[in-house]
Amino acid sequence: MLGYTITQWIFGILSFLAIMFALMVVFSRNPVNSVLYLVMTFFCIAGHYLLMNAQFLAIVHIVVYAGAIMVLFLFVIMLMNLNHDTEPKSKWLPKTIAIIAGGMMLFVLVGSLKGTEQLNLSSYGASQIGTVKNLGKVLFSEFLFPFEIASILLLAAMVGAIMIGKREIK
């Protein structure tokens, strides 16, 4: 098909969609819409993960991000009743500066790619590293200690969130 393989087609479409949805996240005026677009972006990224044989991460990504984090966002928005556009018309200057700064950064990053070697992901044929079995092995042997620390971090975050979120006792 037009000289591209099916994988390349899938990559192109997913990338296009991801960028489109990401832009929509930034530019939509309603926070609820933003959340939904972000979920779509995450699905596209999960597709990329699948494309790179990281099946476990893809699933975890959808479960954690789309399923938990974004639901939390929605929850907060609904709870605070922010689902309408509260943002007043902002001044044009900060936005212009922001876009110029972003453009400069993109320019620099892309510029740094220029002239680098073209390495194909296929050349290594690493198809087995993303499996649950393999990741589990690595996670529970080499990274066991950080893994345990992460659990403590989550616990601390949970306690912290409750402490911050509860109403002060008068």
Binding site: A101, V108, G111
Partner: protein, 629 residues
Amino acid sequence: MIKLIALVPLFPLIGFLINGFFGKKLSKSLSGIIASVSILASFVLSVLIFVELQGSAQKSHIIEAFSWINSGTLHIPFEFLVDPLSSLFLLIITGIGFLIHVYSIGYMHDDEGFSRFFTYLNLFVFFMLLLVLGNNYLIMFVGWEGVGLCSYLLIGFWFKNTAYNNAARKAFVMNRIGDLGFLLGIILIFVTFGSISFNEVFDKAGTVGTSVITAIALLLFIGAMGKSAQIPLYTWLPDAMAGPTPVSALIHAATMVTAGIYMVTRSNIFYSISDVASEVVAITGVVTALFAATIGLLQNDIKKILAYSTVSQLGLMFLGLGVGAYSSAVFHVTTHAFFKALLFLGAGSVIHAMGGEQDIRKMGGLSNHIKITFWTMFIGTIAISGIPPFSGFFSKDEILAHTYEHSPVLWFLGMVTSMLTVFYMCRMLFLTFYGKFRGTHEQEHHLHESPKSMTIPLMVLALLAAAGGLLGLPEFLHLPNWMHHNLESVIKRPDPMTMDHDKELILMGLAVLAAGTVWFFAHMMYRVNKVLPAAKEEQLKPWQKLIYNKYWVDEIYDAVIRKPLDFLSDIFYKFMDIAMIDGIVNGVGSAVKGVGSVVRLAQQGSIGFYVISMVLGVVFIVLLTFLIK
């Protein structure tokens, strides 16, 4: 027992810590007892160690307490050296130290700084022990500085008096000048030999050039000059009498000021190798001895007389060191410690009886009122005058005999010094204890003998001053000269006396004759003719004025050294300090302030602005990495 050497300095340290931290909560008697007992414990241990050392064949023991400095190739262990020299000094320090502690309990009884006094005194003993026990120059230096500090604290003990504080500061500064020389000497030793341990340095001393050895010996001697009050750094010692009298006795007569003698004796090989250095030592010593003795002739403060006498006797010791009579000098240190401590404590007792009066013009006829003090001081005076068989005779004679062999001129000067010594000591004794009482009626009524805690140390010291000569009987009597024999292992290149015995006997007879004549002369002058010192300076003859004012040395130092220094400091203060350094420092400050007041405006609290700045910063950094590549 020798293995327990570390305990000897430890006891005073414990006493210092207890008195230092809890002194205010302890009762006076308890505070004094803790201090005295800690020294007594050290003394007992020192005696045991001394006896064990005398009995053992090995004369030098090195005990490592712990590894002190370990850095790269530099390795300095904290080692104690126990040998005849250090063990003798241990006995002097702890023995006389203990007596003076006991004396102080009585002397300082009404002072509000009682426990503070004992704190300092214990700390002093600790540092002094460290000084004599160290097996390398660095430990010696630590002790050296420590005793200097304690001396400063104790001279300025009554810190509410500005004059006393100035005296303390003067002592500190003078000592600092000497210490610099000592420190440079240590550095030069380390550079030359790569080590500062005594045994290693002394073993290698013969292998390097004489000029280096001379430099080392002279630098070390500068340190000794400061600590042992030799010309030109002697002026602090008479002023140091501002401290309490027991301090004068312990620090400024018996122990600390002899640290210079100890150090030169310890390093005797340098002086044996370098003729120039030993010549300098001998000449400095004899000039100081003569100079201080003449000043002592016309002083009216009882403690000042003794102070100049100390300077003079220290000069004699250095004369002995300079002519190679190391063991004789140490012998004189020992006997001098006995009789000078005795004289100072006796003077303290007199001052105590007089209710704080120190001027001998206002004393007189005290022998009837304070008998014990009188008799003990009488013994002390005979001992220092060099009349046999009291201790001063033997030690002084040994030094003078060595000197005669070395150079008759120096011997003559030494003889003159000892004659002057007899004169001013007799003058002090006669003016204080004989004749009529010249003080106020109230003072006469107040006269009383000191408490037991003060008189018992006096009596013990009087016994020692009388019998101390037994430690070093002259050889021609075919009696064992214990002192000489004992220190054999310490003196690396001994210079034995080759004088025949008849000659020595003649010299000895001359010395006794001279002392007797001067004593008689003083007797005629002050007891028979009842000459009294002039009450006012105006009545003095010009040459007397010169001596009375100590040759105006202090004033000369003031004009030649202090004034130009003040002037220079003033210039540096105005131009360097205020204009340059302050200008730079304040300039930096005001520049930061100025920039801050402008940049502050950027800190407006808008998150968007911060984020944009951050992104631009990232862009800038990434660009920079490309540009640098």
